[in-house]
Amino acid sequence: MEFSLSLIVAQMLAHWWVTLAGVVAGILIGATPGLTSSNCTAIMLPFILALRPVTGVIFVISLHAGSQVGNSFPAILLNIPGTPSAAVTTIEGHALARLGQASRALGVCVFGSVFGGIFGGLASIMLIPWLAPVALRFSPVELTVIILFGIVVIGPISRGSLIKGLVSGLFGLLVSTSGPDPMWGRFRGTFGLVELYDGVPLVPALVGLMAFSELISLVFKGQTDRPTALQSITMKEILKGGLDVIKRPIESFRSSIIGLIVGIIPGAGGSVASALAYQQAAVFATKKEAPKFGKGSVNGLLAADASNNAMIGGALITLFLLAIPGSSTDAVLLVALTYHGLVMGPEFFHMNGDLAWAALSSQFAAAFFCGLCGVLLAYVMGRMVNVKLIILIPFISVLTFIGGFASMGLTFGIYVMLVCGLLGYYMKKHGYVPLAFLMGLVLGGQLEANFFRGYRMGHRSFSIFFESPIALTVWGLMLITLLSPLLRSLFAKRAPAPTPAPFPDAGTPDDQADEPLAGASGR
């Protein structure tokens, strides 16, 4: 299906209510510390699966967009990031709040997110038709190498530890071999359990890894109360923040471009996008603006929030064309679409063009509603950020149980959810990468199928995986990623400069609770 402006407008009008619901849910979720779009999308997965595919996809994208707006609210008002990607927002946002400009900061975040969302939507729509024919040239050989690259690269990008990322990804790939093998249909790794004949169920595993693990983390912290926000918010000042965004077009575009590019990289996510955009805003700051960084810089705040929402467009490009999720929320989206029998990849636009364009065009409607609802909800956020964990934890627990049960209709799903929850918690606690594990689990079947198809195409020779220019390029990138720790240490020995602060992790919330524990690598 070809690109058409009228189709985009029609899709936006047809699904406006889904977009509105998703944005409102996303803002409320993002504004609640302890909840992220990925763990809430995981919790709501059974609900999303019950929707039609196009409705479900638009809901998830809108929820993701809304959460990137809402996560700034507690960051500004309470110095607590609503999601990891708002960690940078706390620096400038809360500084502005301490100067009595909380409303203005909220306005900058809301309108900056709107700008980033529109930019990401435009870019994804313009780039995908250009990239899709390129992606069609991908045979099973290239797909094998790309999937492998996606799994391998997530570790160093999202948490900085290559080895731990590899262990996580390979573990996920191994668990994905449970069930019938894609080539000959023989059952393996079932351990005599009939429930595993279809493999490890993805939905309960996802709910456990993303959502239940967070509950365990919150229970470990034991902090069921939160400080109250003391600022009063005015609509006039919020709108003034919007004017600040309009007066800074260069900063807005630069941050959005950075967010888009980071979104394309698998596993990077909002945390990396916002940190990188903030860093670049500081580098390019004028003499007048530079001293304000760290003390309440509107430029810095804008950079963080515009990049967050532009990232969504970039992540959709990678998801739709290559079936590689750019973030945890996209991993949930991938599971949801796989559940409906839709296969991502180069053929996705030809086979499911209506769904694809509906999803891409929903970003504009989401941006519009983010602005409208963001302004309105920012006004009442003082109460929202005070929802205590003591109330949230039981509700979320019940929802995870329903999520674990619903996809299989068996209690076995709940047990899988609990086991994966524990696994996810310990992985995050000790610096491993649950997202890499999840990607291995979700993409393992495709990797194996493409691998054996490529192997047969090469007449049972492995050299075919090293012949195509695309495959060689990806192998090169993989090698650079694998060798990057060694290269970094070599360069550090030659020129001992102060090491820049590592990017915060992508994906699920970090292990702030595990500060007392020795050995827990932070994000």
């Binding site: 059974p46 609900f47 019950a50 080895i163 590899l166 262990v167 996580s168 390979l170 573990f171 790939l173 191994l174 668990v175 071999t177 449970s178 093998d181 000959w184 023989r186 393996r188 790794g189 079932t190 351990f191 509950l215 365990i216 229970v219 470990f220 034991g222 069921t224 964990l389 003591i390 109330i391 934890i393 039981p394 509700f395 627990s397 019940v398 149980f401 329903i402 049960f405 619903a406 209709g409 209690t411 709940i414 047990y415 609990l418 524990l422 696994l423 918690y425 310990y426 992985m427 000790h430 610096g431 491993y432 194996e448 691998f451 054996f452 609770a513 007392p516 524990l517 020795a518 050995g519």
Partner: protein, 171 residues
Amino acid sequence: MTGPGSPGGSPPGEPKKAIPWEEMGIPIVAVLYALATVIDQSVRGMEFKTLLYSLVLAGALLLAVLGCLIQTVRKRVAKEENPEKLREMAQGRKRILIFMAWAAIFAVAFEFLGYVISIPIMMYILFLWLGMKSKLLALAFSLGMPLAVFFVFDRWAQMDLPLGPLSRILN
């Protein structure tokens, strides 16, 4: 080079440092799973071509785990000696154990008693354990939740959730 996470011992007066063996928990679980998978397939008489992919993955995982082991052994992190922090950590672990026990009981209750009975009971217990002061509010939330689940998931999303002894009445 001294400091947390660096190789080498600690100078006198500095906190004691130790190898963070707890970081090897996940790799050990992964290796055990790999072994179990390979043994399970071998015992079932799988053909080599089916077993091959799992063997390759298991081999790659073993190499990665070895790398992880080397990284861990070379690392030294400061042992926590503050009694306050140690107590907090112990309490946190205890809370996790209790929470997981609650979850296990809930899983069994969910299946046999159905969601209408198990959700209010287990939610109320959890609210009280978490320290909710208002028992009335806890009760209200606990009773309201199965209603919400009924309308949203059972009726609207058409999910087949277990009803337990109430299946004859509600079906």
